[in-house]
């Protein structure tokens, strides 16, 4: 190698090192207190179910506050809380409520938080379109078929149903959707071992669409987008649709949440601004990405909670 190349190499190494040294300290720049233009960071992580809403909120927020750096990760509800309870993140998106263990850990680390409900989702029970027998199902039947490995065919669930073998499809055990199903249907018991699990809900859609005797469950948006290949079953006589989820009459309606760190709300104006912006726009944006908005009063409740922590 010639001398020129060598010195070029050295120069590039040195410059990388210098850039690193020079920029090491301006990471923690927090928001400007006065005026409208905010800066600093808003760090979110958590559920992939809540992600589309938060992506939409962040997109709109960035248009108003271009100098605030908003990051949204998708470590899953549990993974998000792991970071949240150590104070690493400002918001933790969750498709279930925080667990006792997680809350205890937050307390041990001195992290106080506020739970904000963002929107509603309806956990949809879906079957193959060729399945013309199962029009409705009860929570008890669901519990039995997902728990008892002696249940092999649809006939084992209800006598009038045919002798068709059941194939089970469910979201991965790290997901909040799984946790919600486990709590709402299974009384916190584990589902049967022979169920096929996938972290990717589109894989579940493909599985149910391709197997005559299949049953599966996932978020409402995945059912709505795939109505031509799968069919939703009524639960306790109520079908999942926008209205039944909105008024909570669908038994598997669920709230999805974001948890916000109180210290961040108080000390970081950009976090408080983001929380307010999110609460004001969550209804409209969640509808746009396939979720169902809550009653207006619920958003007013959120606003009161935010004001309580962040001050007016």
């Amino acid at each position: 190698m010639s001398w020129m190349k060598k010195s070029a190499l050295l120069a590039s190494i040195t410059s990388v090192a210098l850039v690193g040294a020079a920029c090491g300290n301006n990471e923690e720049g927090s928001g400007a207190a006065e005026g409208d233009a905010l800066s600093g960071k808003v760090v979110m992580d958590g559920s992939s179910t809540v992600f589309p809403i938060m992506e939409a909120v962040a997109e709109e927020f960035s248009a108003e506050q271009p100098d605030v750096e908003v990051t949204v990760g998708v470590s899953g509800t549990g993974g998000g809380f792991k970071r949240f309870v150590t104070g690493e993140t400002d918001f933790s998106n969750a498709s279930r409520e925080i667990k006792e263990e997680e809350a205890a850990e937050a307390e041990a680390n001195g992290v106080e938080y506020t739970q904000l409900s963002v929107a509603l989702d309806g956990l949809s029970i879906v079957v193959n379109p060729e399945n013309d027998w199962a029009q409705d199902i009860t929570i008890e039947e669901l519990n039995k078929m997902w728990l008892d490995t002696n249940v092999k065919t649809w006939k084992d669930v209800r006598d009038e149903w045919p002798d068709e073998e059941i194939t089970f499809f469910a979201p991965g055990k790290d997901s909040g959707t799984f946790d919600f199903f486990s709590e709402a249907v299974m009384d916190k018991e584990d589902i049967r071992q022979d169920a096929q699990l996938s972290e990717d809900d589109n894989v579940l859609v493909t599985g149910v669409a391709g197997t005559k005797g299949a049953i599966g469950f996932f978020g409402f948006a995945y059912y709505v987008e795939n109505q031509d290949t799968i069919r939703a079953v009524q639960v306790d006589g109520v079908e999942p649709n926008h209205d039944t989820i909105n008024d909570l009459s669908y038994p598997l309606s669920r709230e999805i949440y974001t948890y916000v760190n109180n210290a961040s709300l108080q000390d970081k104006p950009q976090v408080a601004a983001f929380a307010r912006f999110m609460n004001e726009n969550a209804a409209e944006l969640s509808e746009e990405v396939g979720y169902v908005k809550m009653e207006d009063s619920r958003y007013d409740d959120n606003a009161a909670l935010i004001d309580e922590q962040a001050g007016e």
């Binding site: 850039v19 960071k41 589309p52 992506e55 939409a56 997109e59 960035s62 948006a221």
Partner: protein, 303 residues
């Protein structure tokens, strides 16, 4: 020296002509069969690849345009782009390549040229080879505990590059060792005989001759690293980010994360965006690899 078959021409047959030609015929047939077996292998691989490329291009081809490259991700598929992910991936590449080159080739030179041939050295070599087979998510865990928490680099592009760099190192070291080993001993001896020191010989003679092989190793390793999602998610890289990195401590996202996110969306348009993202990622990789191959060929011709 007389060729063996000149003796046949002279009519002095030491073996039965029929037996020989029969054996040769069966060998030639076997030869022919294996030629087609290998060809079938190649055709199968290419068929799978072209099916994938066809699928991706037919779904995503129409979505790749300037807006797609310049826009931030959006809830509206028509306005969504992968600008921050593209910039994040370019940052990662810029940091990973010099890192694995300097550390990986350095380690290989030490092991091949300087290290004594003893049990300790072979123990180290075996472990490096084993590291090449460690699942990427394990490197993600290492990155999380060491670079994010202990070293305090946060979820930065530096953490991402260090984690992916570590993951690529074993492949780079093994490939570089192989390349250094294949440099002819005569070249080293000639250089030493002319009075060059060991370092001068290594740097001016051995390294340039080994460079093509080393670059091949780096291409393979970095291409794999750039396509990784799991370790980046593990170290807390963002999926959505409203800014692009402006220094090595900035938060970032990368193309595979963006693609993965789009594939998991319920709406069909996002599946097309994912395909478009794959096209962009492939283009980035092909561009990087072509540059590396250009450099490699320059050095191959010289030596």
């Amino acid at each position: 020296m007389a060729l063996p078959n000149s003796e046949f021409k002279n009519g002095k047959n030491y073996m039965d002509q029929d037996t020989v030609s029969r054996r040769i015929k069966s060998r030639l047939r076997l030869n022919e069969i294996f030629k087609y077996v290998f060809l079938a292998g190649l055709v199968f691989a290419l068929l799978v690849l072209s099916t994938l490329i066809y699928d991706v291009v037919s779904k995503g081809g129409g979505w790749v345009n300037l807006d797609f490259l310049q826009n931030f991700p959006s809830r509206r598929a028509g306005q969504a782009g992968l600008y921050p992910a593209l910039i994040g991936t370019l940052w990662l590449m810029m940091l990973i390549v010099p890192m694995v080159f300097i550390v990986g080739v350095g380690a290989a030179i030490y092991l091949e040229e300087y290290a004594p041939r003893n049990r300790v050295t072979s123990f180290i070599e075996v472990n490096i080879s084993n590291l090449a087979g460690v699942p990427s998510i394990v490197f993600g865990l290492l990155g999380l505990t060491f670079f994010v928490r202990t070293a305090g680099f946060g979820n930065s592009v530096l953490t991402g590059a260090l984690t992916l760099g570590l993951m690529s190192l074993p492949i780079v070291i093994v490939a570089s060792q192989e390349a250094l080993r294949s440099v002819k001993m005569e070249l080293r001896h000639a250089s030493l005989a002319l009075g060059a020191s060991k370092w001068q010989t290594t740097f001016n003679v051995v390294l340039p001759s080994a460079l093509p092989g080393i670059i091949t190793g780096i291409i393979l390793a970095v291409s794999r690293a750039i396509g990784e999602t799991a370790p980046l998610i593990m170290i807390g890289a963002a999926t959505f980010i409203s800014t692009t990195p402006n220094n090595i401590f900035s938060d970032f996202t990368a193309l595979p994360i963006q693609i993965y996110n789009w594939t998991s969306r319920p709406q069909a348009e996002f599946q097309n965006l994912a395909a478009a993202g794959i096209i962009v990622l492939m283009t980035v990789l092909i561009t990087m690899n072509s540059a590396a191959i250009y450099i490699r060929n320059k050095y191959t011709n010289r030596h």
